[in-house]
């Protein structure tokens, strides 16, 4: 047998398999979504109904908004663990503004964003100025803000008609326009707008470019004259602002402040951001990928619930998806 032809054949095969592998890593996430949708649609025809698809989009909105924040912290090679607590805090602030202080919708939202801005600044201070590793700094902030939110609300919850901490009666009502933010179609529009704005910001502006450059190689960025500390601070501030926005929509959705209401969003948001790394061959944190990651998690969750998998087992599946996403990100890096 002709050895040359054999080896040639082999290299062609190898080439073919690397192309296939590249295609899979680029579009694997979207393929998985399609496969899952097809599978659920065949086993349960009601899955594919427009009303259910809308439910899925609505259910991932808050996760997606928070996850785009994490995505920004990831661009500078950082990580923000405190987003869940920040969402809870924003929920408490905005509801207290309506119920306790009888604010209108706009001042209430600004009040919540202002309060959480301080948290973002604190994160940036701990990480950039005091040089605490990001994971540990935001871990401490996770607990601090959880505690602050509970202390502020006197235990965790506020709702219309509930007396203040000092026992006085409240007459404040949650603004009706504000309430509509948390339901379709507005909640979905907000999500898509956030993803679009962050996507444009990261990919088409100078600041987005610098965030990626800082994350790619801090020292080279610094020696190119980029004010790296400023951009790292910006990343943590934006991350907390988006987490706060997630908390505000959450408040509108549930109409009250609840104990640790935002805590459950951390894990799926992290998963979405990491799943998003590879989408479209970006190979880096990106807003569109994060949306796709959230869709994947949402479809999986919705489908499994419809298949009567008990809710308390869902975390097993979501955790596995996160592990898989992390594996696909880090395994290739070696």
């Amino acid at each position: 047998m002709d050895v040359g032809a054999l080896s040639k054949n082999k290299t062609q095969k190898e080439k073919g398999s690397t192309i296939a592998l590249n295609f899979l890593t680029k579009w694997g996430t979207i393929l998985t979504i399609l496969v899952l949708v097809a599978f659920f649609a065949i086993t349960m025809p009601s899955f594919i109904k427009p009303s259910n698809l809308l439910t899925i989009l609505r259910s991932i909105s808050i996760v997606t908004v928070i996850a785009t924040g994490i995505t920004i912290s990831l661009t500078v090679n950082g990580f923000d663990l405190s987003v869940g607590s920040i969402a809870t805090f924003a929920d408490s602030l905005v509801i207290s503004a309506f119920v306790w202080y009888e604010f209108g919708a706009v001042p209430a939202i600004l009040f919540a964003l202002g309060g959480t801005l301080l948290v973002g600044l604190a994160n940036a201070f701990l990480i950039v100025k005091l040089r605490i590793p990001d994971l540990l700094a935001t871990l401490s902030m996770l607990f601090i803000i959880e505690g602050v939110a509970m202390t502020y609300t006197g235990g965790g919850s506020i709702s219309e008609g509930m007396p203040r901490l000092d026992g006085t009666e409240t007459f404040g009502k949650i603004d009706l326009v504000f309430k509509s933010l948390g339901s379709a179609p507005w909640i979905i529009i907000i999500m898509l707008a956030v993803v679009a704005v962050v996507h444009i910001f990261l990919n088409y502006t100078k600041h987005g470019r610098y965030l990626y450059v800082v994350g790619g190689n801090l020292e080279a960025a610094r020696l190119s004259g980029i004010p790296v500390d400023r951009y790292r601070m910006l990343a943590y501030i934006l991350s907390s602002m988006l987490a706060a926005l997630g908390g505000i929509i959450l408040a509108s959705r549930i109409g009250s402040a609840q104990i640790n209401a935002g805590a459950g969003y951390l894990m799926p948001a992290v998963a979405a951001a990491y799943i998003g790394f590879s989408v479209g061959g970006a190979g880096r944190p990106n807003a569109f990928g994060t949306l796709m990651g959230a869709v994947l998690v949402g479809v999986l969750e919705n489908g499994l619930v419809m298949m009567s998998v008990p809710y308390y087992s869902l975390n097993i599946v979501k955790g596995l998806v996160l592990a898989l996403a992390l594996a696909s990100t880090y395994f290739r890096k070696r």
Binding site: K206, R209, V213, S224
Partner: protein, 496 residues
């Protein structure tokens, strides 16, 4: 050691090297950068298993193919980077006894702490060093850490001790302490000490014999008393293969950049003053570790400065961060190209615009991608960067082309002062030539260039004037046309 030779892919690192050490004496091993000193010592340490030649100890032929074999023969090496060999959060005793504890514990699983501390104390007493064995190594000074490493070697009953540039980080009094210990080890404990150093005065102070390496071969092996410092310098230099340096004739203009009394934290740069004129290439010569990189970074605001004033075109400017440096028109091409100079994971065009992105910004800081890539294509053409397109990842370019990218990003900023730190490190001859030509074009356009290099031939070949660094300070200013390599080397090895 007789007729030692070793090759690495494409390089003959050592050939026909004979080297001998007697116990009870101090030997100097010297040579210019890349002469093969480290390679020879690594063979002794058992780091390579593919050397050829013979190694004899006490007249018996031995094989040193693994680090363990070297240790069993009593050969111990204290490398320059002491921290890599120490465990910072363990005590002095544990660090001294580390090898013993790792290799001689046998089947025992519990540590006898009393014994460990006692043995460690004994070794330190023998060295005449007063240190509490319970102190953690992370709290020690560099000199004390060296002592701990030497103590570890002695705990292993070393018969031969190799010290690789041990005095570089030490103060004068610490150096004297080390010398006392070296003499004590050699004369009272019959250890053969090999002392590798760039500092000629030290070699003449304490060594009996000297071996000089050049281009992987021994050029002389003789008692120190038979040679003179200038002779040593000539032997180190020899006549290496000639390279040509394209030096364009440029009219030198006014002083455009001046720095007075620049000092960086921790003595990384000490009281450096220098100036650059328009169209002038100013060299910064010095051996590896003399502080050239630190000076380059301090000039650029990348190392925190303790004191110093910077003037650009007669105006005092503040250069506390690289950001400020770039705003004022300074540019740095750093030594660690892949770590600091380029973004290897990014395409060429993003690298080329990294220092000048604002130039390509429209309203709201949107990047005009077309303009950005067009300018990248122009730089690629101007510098002859070999890349399929501006979209190629920099990681896939050759070293020389990566260096051109690192330079190219400053051309768009239109910087006034270019600082090059070892720009030819790891690039091939052709690319070197192109880099020299590029520097020539910069000065022809009236820019000022600071060129730091340990390659004396390059300093001689392309600079107009040169500062010599020794021990983190500028010790001499020379006009290139009126000096020679020997004189530069004389000052960079501590001559006065």
């Amino acid at each position: 050691m007789t007729n030692i030779a070793i090759e690495f892919p494409g390089v003959k690192a050592l050939s026909g090297v004979d080297f001998e050490v007697e116990t009870g004496a101090i030997h100097a091993l010297i040579g210019a950068n890349g002469a093969g000193k480290s390679t020879l010592m690594k063979i002794l340490a058992g780091a390579y298993d593919h050397y050829s030649g013979e190694i004899m100890i006490d007249g018996k032929q031995v094989q040193i193919r693994t680090p363990r074999a070297a240790k069993q023969l009593g050969i111990e090496i204290v490398y320059q980077e002491v921290d890599t060999a120490l465990v910072p959060y363990l005590s002095i005793a544990e660090n001294i006894m580390l090898d013993v504890m790792v290799n001689r514990m046998g089947r025992r699983h519990f540590v006898r702490w009393g014994e460990v501390h006692q043995s460690a104390r004994k070794v330190l007493e023998r060295m005449g060093v007063k240190l509490d064995t319970r102190e953690l190594v992370q709290n020690l000074t560099l000199a004390q850490k060296q002592m701990v490493l030497i103590a570890r070697a002695l705990a292993e009953d070393a018969r031969f001790l190799v010290l690789d540039e041990p005095t570089a980080p030490l103060s004068i009094s610490e150096t004297q302490d080390l010398f006392r210990l070296m003499k004590d080890l050699a004369y009272n404990h019959n250890v053969g000490v090999v002392f590798i150093s760039h500092r000629l005065p030290e070699i003449f102070e304490i060594c009996e014999r000297v071996t000089i390496l050049r281009d992987g071969q021994v050029v002389i092996h003789s008692p120190v008393s038979n040679v003179r410092p200038l002779q040593v310098i000539e032997l180190m230099l020899g006549h290496r293969f000639d390279e040509t340096y394209p030096k364009t004739k440029v009219e030198i203009g006014e002083k455009i950049f001046e720095v007075n009394n620049l000092s960086a934290d921790n003595g990384a740069v000490q009281n450096a003053s220098l100036y650059v004129r328009a169209g002038e290439i100013v060299g910064v010569a010095g051996l590896v570790g003399a502080g050239k990189t630190e000076l380059s970074k301090a000039l650029f605001g990348a190392l925190p400065a303790k004191s110093g004033e910077t003037y650009l075109k007669g105006k005092k400017i503040s250069v506390r961060t690289p950001f400020e440096a770039v705003q004022h028109g300074l540019a740095l091409v750093p030594e660690e190209r892949r770590k600091e100079g380029v973004l290897v994971e990014e395409p060429v065009y993003i690298n080329l615009s990294a220092a000048s992105l604002s130039v390509f910004c429209a309203a709201l800081d949107f990047v005009r991608g077309g303009a950005e890539r067009a300018s990248a294509r122009k730089v690629i053409g101007d510098l002859g960067i070999k890349t399929p397109s501006e979209y190629q990842k920099v990681a896939y370019l050759s070293g020389g082309n990566q260096q051109k990218v690192a330079v190219g990003k400053w051309l768009i900023t239109d910087a006034e002062i270019y600082i090059f730190d070892e720009p030819t490190k790891g690039v091939d001859v052709g690319a070197k030539h192109e880099i020299f030509e590029l520097i020539g074009r910069l000065v022809a356009a009236g820019k000022g260039v600071i060129y730091a290099s340990c390659e004396l031939a390059e300093i001689m070949g392309i600079t107009d004037r040169t500062y010599v660094m020794y021990d983190h300070a500028i010790v001499k200013e020379l006009v290139t046309a009126e000096t020679n390599e020997a004189e530069i080397l004389f000052y960079s090895t501590g001559g006065k």
